[in-house]
Subunit: 141 residues, 4 copies
DNA sequence: GTGGTCTAGACCACA
DNA sequence: GTGGTCTAGACCACC
């Protein structure tokens, strides 16, 4: 998997990396136990400081997304046990609300938003009840 | 409308204010041309630095959410002309993707996410043509 | 509250700080919303690099022990909602086992260990069923 | 006795081995003068570097847990003379405190912790004079 | 070779 | 004044 950073994005570099790894895992582009590029390697190819890469990796490890094999490198962790439904709701709510506020603000209709979500959702690796709802689509054949 | 700030949220205070105003407008709690509390009033009632309030208002004015009538105060702007569909997509995409990544990461099914969005969407003031789709709910009459 | 670091301890400096803050909170020496020494302040008094202090604070913030008020400093967070009993068990088990292994290894009797635990437990701020068991004592009058 | 290593544990491999041997001895799964697998055998069965196994054995020998009979292999040492009570206290204290801090931090009550310790303690081979106290259980006959 | 820790010093955002 | 980010470069532990 390739990593890219855009200095103009406003987001700190290490966070851009964090997001890309998370996103890669969620999309199935990064499989469990797959090795990530080494800190030195990635820092050279992106022309950034090794510490910056290390920070991203460290943060991802603390969140259980990656794990380190001392002396060997950094690897993708297996998916951990899913959280409670209640906890999921709590954590997702602010993101959902933020999205809805933005959508309403720019005059987007609910149907349009649903369609957008539906389109994007096909790229991800959903688990659980794989029956995609009509609303947000999913790759129904 | 009441404003609240939570010191422990981590977000800069001025951003908390910005978010609350935007959210208030999107939810219809703040009507067009409604007057907002003055910088001095708000800074006193929240016990924060007036500069902080001013910064929030400035930013909101720059984005066309508020307008200032010199000597009279700050007011809620009427909704500006909706952006083109393409621009909406571009701006919404990162938020949608972020939401989907988080949802997948915590083992949420697509159906569960759709239901959550559907529930929250009833609070907002959607515009445009769309009858809210069955899927994502909305306040059907 | 005073902080101390011992270079000979083997533990990284930032972890020593992390432990001391956690311990201070658990002992009630650090009250909720109390301000901690600033990064620069603490780094000067301990004669260590500001980054090292910052790292400790950052880690504690990610764990919900501290929170940052941008521009104002770092503060002690209020206790968050307690975890499930099951989760508590899971997290405590390795520590308990490690303790028991060490104790057995050095020829400590179970009674002696219990007494030691009992003694130390009086310093902490327990919550929940405050009825201290005979085994581990507590400050019964 | 079987050895297992988990690459994702974060702990260096040689330490995982050290811990397992120590734990095995404390639990009575490894008897005095029992022979351990050779460096070569173990490194092959675990698919790890022989140096890593050697390091673990060396460390355990240094601590008097194992002894080497040149040409014959590595064996479990008999329990050495117990340390003085004072030394035991000094070495156990940090572990005890760490455990208590964690327990308090996650809202565990003292009774709950005592119960947990009591349960786990039955697996170990306690020595010394002590009838296990009622409080912390142990395998009463 | 791998990552982890620490130092030094710069620059920016927030209040 | 506060903390947050990034760079540069050093040293150590692990395999």
């Amino acid at each position: 998997m390739e990593f890219r950073i855009s200095p103009a994005s406003g987001l700190p570099i290490y966070q851009q990396l964090v997001e890309q790894v998370r996103s890669g895992v969620a999309r199935g582009k990064l499989a469990a136990d797959e090795k990530l590029p080494s800190v030195r390697e990635l820092s050279q190819s992106l022309v950034i400081n090794p510490n910056t890469v290390a920070r991203a990796y460290t943060e991802l490890e603390r969140d259980g997304v990656l794990y380190t094999r001392p002396g060997m490198g950094v690897f993708v962790a297996a998916k951990s046990a899913p959280l409670t439904k209640k906890v999921r709701r709590e954590r997702l709510l602010p993101l959902v609300d933020q999205l809805l506020v933005e959508a309403v603000e720019m005059g987007c209709s609910l149907a349009e938003l649903s369609k957008l979500i539906s389109e994007r959702s096909t790229v991800f690796e959903w688990n659980g009840t794989s029956e995609p709802s009509n609303a947000s689509g999913g790759k129904r054949k």
